[in-house]
Symmetry: C2
């Protein structure tokens, strides 16, 4: 409809082609409550591997001796997923990273330097110079190399593109765009990633924070605009209020191609992974968490309940069964309708005609105005009414 | 950069011009745990009015006698915000709604009918016929009239546009696009709303569900594409895992124009409203809730802490003080850096040079590899080290 939708770029990529870089063991460690012991990290890594993520990013071996040891341990597990570690663009960090046995190195440039130095042009050359040194050091180690800026959306795009094009020529496998402060709008993400897609030949990674609640949508926009890899963490844990959640991204891809995503990931494992991590960091799974929030498949309004009973797809774009979950239709409240009660009466094997059901609905709404009700209240009402009818006849 | 960004439509509207239709008392009542008594509804309405929302949408008076009475009570409070009520497109509901004294009527068409009937064209005429009847009935009552479809993103756009253009000519004040099932991508929202903006002269409302976690981003995209009104609820409560949250939308507008939004809304009231509603419906505010999540302003990684100490804007796009909140910089972990510890030493009035601080940082990281630490551990380490120095000298 819009000019945009006419352009070839608007042909969305195959959802199953999206590569997930699961960063619970790096970004997630920056979550306020996070303290992962070695065995806990290994358990998280194994569960994410079983779920089917493509890569896992680990805290820099330069952070502490324990971080270095854990990186070596996990890189040595022989998981199907590729193990990456995240370092500053510094030769010392790069040497440490190579020794861990990780299969990929994610190089990142600090925001402060970017923000400060981009005020005068020579900084770009300095960045490129330092990048070339580190990339040269890593080459020949058969490692996957990523180079990412930080706070990409508050940097001068032309400066950014100059750097990305240079490291692309230097042979990095992937460049990264990071919305480090969660300031980017979906449109800004589409535009920056789309433009970068035209300028580099290597893969593109997107990392988005959730400060304004757009991390999942921004990741989907980045993927649509040409990003090949998306960073996630379990429940989105990370600095401040976190990043794109694993479950949110997967759900967004699932609605575009349920079959492809069902094949690609072991979806029923999602809830267990989320519960495990939530317990480790001492948080509750948010009530409104995508897919696994306690009410994600609970239907209430009368018109919704009626339609759901006829055809679940009318109000559900995700099939709970695919995630090992169940649907619940709540009929015990004042927003209910007689069709929903008819369905319940049938479950109870009670024969009630429309007139009776409409009367029971009226009575139920009256009760529900005064106090919260449960299904047992509904059943009592249906049964009592039925028995009245029987005594009358 | 992209063709899109060259077009006039890409000039974003004034954030403060966004009109919020707060639907906690309608959509929020459809939340699994929601049971609001009359006094509770009144308290919610007063708090939202004090915060500065433009309109409040209430459950249909046709839902139950209590719903009708509550609608009359709240419409009679004389709040600054406009009171709207939400009805099916039916003359009986419309008559009831007029009698409540509400200032606006939000008419909605059920999904099931749309989905089913759109398979054959005559349905569009039926819908328009019914709409005309109800709109005619409401006209002359000095009411604001909105006409919305349901599940707009799974309906035939051409059918939708025909209906919207007709009701626009019939004189409704606002047409509504609803992503009832949370299936829409930000791009789809931009395209549908953008196209509708070209076809109707009346205001446009957007209502978006959060099934794939895109409700906040989709609302911002709708606003950018020409929507004048956005539906929200406190914490996003609603059917299933809910809709765009009030705090999320306001935060998204705030980052574009902090001064304008500070003037427009009483931001420090947000947390109190969220806590009040969370308690009523028996949920916890999500750990990652926009603005008010417990860690939304907690900074941890060393490089972040260092930059934050120099200039908070490096890693914060929202000023916690504007929301009556405070920032917390956590330095007691293995991701910390010596600059962060120097800042803490200064707070404790301990004179430590870089060499000493780097050594203390090394010791702290070693401790942090083994167990979670608190600020007291950091202070002990800083003080003990200082005293060693003093005994040595």
């Amino acid at each position: 409809m819009s000019p945009e939708s006419m352009s070839p770029e608007s042909m969305p990529p195959e959802p199953r082609s999206c590569r997930i870089i699961e960063s619970t063991l790096r970004e997630g460690e920056q979550f306020a409550n996070a303290f992962f012991g070695t065995e806990q990290k290994i358990e998280i890594a194994k569960r994410l591997d079983a779920f089917g993520v493509d890569c896992m990013e680990l805290t820099s071996p330069a952070a502490s001796d324990g971080s270095r040891r854990d990186c070596e341990r996990i890189a040595g597990l022989g998981l199907r997923a590729k193990i990456l570690t995240h370092i500053r663009c510094h030769p010392d960090d790069a040497r440490l990273a190579v020794e861990t046995g990780a299969q990929g190195i994610d190089i990142v440039f600090g925001t402060s330097s970017l923000l400060r130095e981009f005020s005068h042009g020579r900084s770009v050359d300095q960045i490129v110079e330092r990048a070339a040194e580190v990339i040269e050091l890593l080459r020949g180690h058969d490692l996957e190399i990523r180079f990412s800026s930080e706070d990409s959306f508050r940097s001068d795009p032309e400066d950014l593109f100059r750097i990305y094009q240079t490291v692309d020529r230097l042979g990095v496998h992937r460049v990264g765009i990071a919305d480090t402060v969660g300031v980017a709008s979906p449109r800004a993400v589409s535009q920056l990633v789309g433009r970068l897609r035209e300028l580099v030949g290597c893969d593109i990674e997107f990392h988005g924070h959730n400060d304004t609640g757009c991390a999942i949508a921004n990741a989907l926009c980045a993927f649509d605009a040409g990003a090949t890899h998306i960073d996630t963490s379990v429940l989105g844990i990370g600095e401040r209020n976190g990043i794109t959640s694993l479950g949110g991204l997967v759900a967004g891809l699932y609605v575009r191609d349920p079959d492809g995503i069902r094949e690609r990931y072991d979806l029923p494992l999602l809830r267990g992974i989320e519960n495990f991590v939530a317990e480790l960091v001492g948080i509750d799974v948010p009530f409104n968490n995508v897919v696994t929030g306690f009410c994600a498949f609970t239907h209430k309004a009368g018109i919704h309940a009626k339609a759901m009973l006829n055809n679940p797809s009318t109000y559900e774009i995700l099939d709970p069964a695919d995630f090992g979950l169940e649907r619940y239709i709540n009929v015990a409240h004042k927003l209910t309708g007689w069709n929903a009660l008819r369905h319940r009466a049938e479950q109870l094997n009670l024969e009630l005609d429309e007139r009776e059901l409409r009367e029971i609905t009226r009575q139920l709404k009256k009760l529900a105005d005064d106090k919260p009700l449960g299904l047992s209240d509904v059943d009592t009402l249906l049964r009592s009414h039925r028995s009245q009818e029987m005594t009358l006849s």
